[in-house]
């Protein structure tokens, strides 16, 4: 088994969850702020 490799893939699932949460959070954040400013513009 190589160093860092997660045998049961739990870390991968957790990391993907964090990635999805952060990415979608940032997209919503950018859409709300950018959309509001552009809308008022």
């Amino acid at each position: 088994m190589q160093v860092f490799v997660d045998r049961n893939g739990g870390r991968r699932v957790a990391a993907r969850f964090v990635s999805w949460t952060v990415a979608s959070g940032l997209i919503v954040f950018a859409a709300v702020v950018g959309g509001t400013l552009l809308g008022a513009w």
Binding site: M1, Q2, V3, F4, V5, D6, G9, R11, R12, A15, R16, S19, W20, V22, A23, L26, I27, F29, A30, V32, V33, G35, T36, L37, L38, G39, A40, W41
Partner: protein, 629 residues
């Protein structure tokens, strides 16, 4: 192979974009343009009524005083505020509303700063955050100028303010002392009444507006902190870069001097076994084996080609060469470490040269490579890997990196006695050292780094022999380069993690080697992008010549260091022109590689060997024009 993680790039890029917006907005809000009085349309007021319109605030000192004067006089006025000032002094803005006055917007950074609709949107956002309202009173209407910017005499100012008998909007300022005094005097004039500029009150801001206002307000106030964090990262990166250059210049020079000054020991000529692991190396294997077999070493040299289940006839090509002293072993595909171990088992000599299947040796490479073994404490020797295909920008960049990066690093680390990698392209090991560490491990994708660290930790010394040159084929495409470096970088992190115990051991690997890798192969590539980002920001948004100067000085130092490395290696300085260009694509690719490697490590993804597409072109290697088809 499972798909390597990618989603994090969206987060990283969006995160950087958000940070850039925060910093840019902070800088934008800090600029105070000249106020421009806006002459809007005529606003109908009741006959004989005057509306006092204050501009330029809220001001922390003068607006409260103006409010006191208005309160004492019993006048309600209209305040045309600027968005950036509202964010700076929200309590004053709140007091204006709390005392019954009306709020309008006059600009974002200064009076009349409504040139773009975005400024209006930003001013509304500031209002939404501070007061929770959205105003329809945007931009001042046509006004009677009180003259409070030009005159000081109250009598004159009052006369000017009341010069329109039918009434109107009187233009005043609450960011100075005189506006309140005029209001007080106006109130004393008989026969006048005072109204708002508009009877329409502000409406409640939507949740989206308030959220946006909270974000822009935070950015305006705290963008400076982000800049400080960026600046700290740049300072650390610059210090690390400088430290590395100083170490390179100092230690590499010392290393060379010691080599020159020390009496060369008698020529050492042990018998040597060369192990060549090969997987789908049909394009290069013939040239590799011929170059090894053509050595001028004065003792016996046996060559063992281990074909690791190639599907392109690599083993057949090696056998068809029919060279004396060359043995070909075939095995099912088990990976490079297994192929190396199989070759080592088959080898009959105690000095083992391990060489990749795409490498060309010079006739004296083996003889030079084994010289350090004259010292019984030396367990491994690194040779000097050189790029054999230097055509094109990518080839030149890699050539420069091999000389200015890897080889110079190796000289420093040789001086510190902690070379972390004997490259797979050209390295030699003492059999006893290999036995001590249990052979080549498959724990990491950088089996060469893993093995070298293990050998050092086992108490053996690792030497560097720059004269032992080997020519290797560098990836010819950006994608190929990315795959190779991704494997190297990820493998190095694996090896560092595997050997983290060295940090608490009494040996050079923990004291210097791991710290060196941590500082210059992990921290520096992670921090350096900030410098590029800030220079970009300087170009796009702000006048930031400092960032550009630091960047240019950094580049100059690195170019000089690369020139020195080329000279040390006996190479021509001509490819140096490509070095500044390297900063534009190549360096960024290396950041991507390091970040991707870290993320892959966090994900725990099983990464397999990613083979690089071979071209068989090694035109810059001696005799390298041979091309097998």
């Amino acid at each position: 192979m499972k798909r390597t993680p990618r989603l994090h790039w969206i987060s990283i890029l969006l995160g950087l974009l958000v940070l850039m917006c925060v910093v840019s907005f902070h800088a934008y809000a800090a600029i105070r343009p000249e106020p421009v009085p806006v002459a809007g349309g005529h606003r109908e007021l009741p006959d004989g009524a005057f509306a006092l319109a204050f501009h330029g605030g809220p001001d922390p000192k003068w607006t409260p005083r103006t409010l006191e004067r208005l309160d004492a006089a019993g006048i309600k006025a209209t305040f045309f505020v600027t968005g950036a000032q509202v964010t700076r002094h929200p309590d004053v803005a709140r007091r204006i509303v709390a005392e019954g006055h009306r709020i309008g917007i006059d600009g974002f950074r200064a009076e009349g700063d409504l040139a773009t609709g975005l400024n209006l949107a930003l001013a509304q956002a500031a209002l939404a955050d501070a007061l929770g309202v959205h105003t329809r009173l945007v931009g001042a209407p046509a006004e009677i100028d009180s003259g409070d910017r030009e005159h000081q005499d109250i009598g004159t100012l009052v006369r000017m303010s009341l010069r329109e008998r039918g009434g109107g909007v009187v233009r005043l300022h609450d960011n100075g002392s005189i506006g309140g005094d005029i209001a007080r005097e106006l109130a004393k004039q008989p026969g006048h009444r005072f109204v708002f500029v508009s009877d329409e009150p502000p409406v409640e801001a939507s949740a989206r507006e308030r959220f946006t206002g909270a974000v822009t307000t935070w950015s305006q106030r705290n963008g400076g902190i982000v800049l400080v964090v960026f600046g700290t990262a740049i300072a650390i990166a610059a210090l690390l870069g400088l430290l590395r250059t100083l170490m390179q210049l100092g230690l590499a020079h010392t290393d060379r001097r010691l080599r020159r000054e020390n009496e060369p020991p008698p020529w050492f000529a042990p018998p040597v076994s060369v192990v060549v692991p090969a997987y789908n190396e049909a394009l290069n294997i013939a040239a590799t084996v011929r170059s090894i077999a053509g050595n001028d070493h004065v003792a016996d040299v046996e060559v063992i080609v281990v074909d690791d289940g190639s599907t392109d006839g690599t083993a057949d090509i090696a056998e068809q060469l029919d060279l004396p002293g060359v043995t070909v072993i075939r095995q099912t595909n088990q990976g490079k470490p297994a192929a190396l171990n199989a070759g080592v088992r088959e080898a009959s000599h105690d000095v083992l040269v391990l060489v990749d299947g795409d490498t060309i040796f010079e006739p004296d490479t083996i003889g030079q490579l084994v010289q350090p073994f004259a010292d019984n404490g030396v367990g491994a020797v690194s040779g000097n890997a050189k790029v054999g295909n230097r055509q094109g920008l990518l080839g030149r960049w890699q050539h420069l990196e091999y000389c200015a990066g890897s080889n110079l690093d190796r000289q420093i680390l040789h001086a510190l006695r902690c070379i972390p990698t004997v490259p797979g392209a050209v390295g030699a090991f003492r059999r006893a050292a290999l036995t001590d560490v249990g052979g080549v491990s498959a724990d990491t994708l950088a089996e060469d780094t893993d093995l070298t660290m293990a050998v050092t930790r086992a108490g053996w010394r690792v030497a560097y022999r720059p004269e032992a040159k080997a020519w290797t084929e560098a990836p010819a495409s950006l994608h190929g380069l990315f795959l190779q470096r991704y494997r190297w970088s990820y493998g190095t992190f694996q090896a560092m993690w595997k050997h983290r115990g060295a940090l608490v051991e009494n040996g050079p690997m923990g004291r210097f080697g791991l710290l060196y890798l941590l500082a210059f192969h992990l921290l520096l590539p992670l921090l350096a992008p900030v410098m590029d980002l800030l220079v970009l920001y300087g170009f796009l948004v702000a006048d930031a010549p400092l960032g550009l100067i630091v960047w240019a000085v950094f580049l100059l130092i690195q170019t000089a260091s690369a020139g020195y490395a080329l000279r040390l290696d006996g190479e021509s300085l001509r490819p140096l022109w490509a070095y500044p260009l390297q900063q534009l694509v190549y360096r960024q690719l290396m950041y991507v590689v390091v970040i991707q490697s870290l993320i892959t490590a966090l994900h725990g993804t099983q990464l397999r060997w990613m083979s690089v597409r071979r071209t068989g072109r090694l035109a810059d290697a001696p005799g390298g024009r041979v091309r097998v088809t």
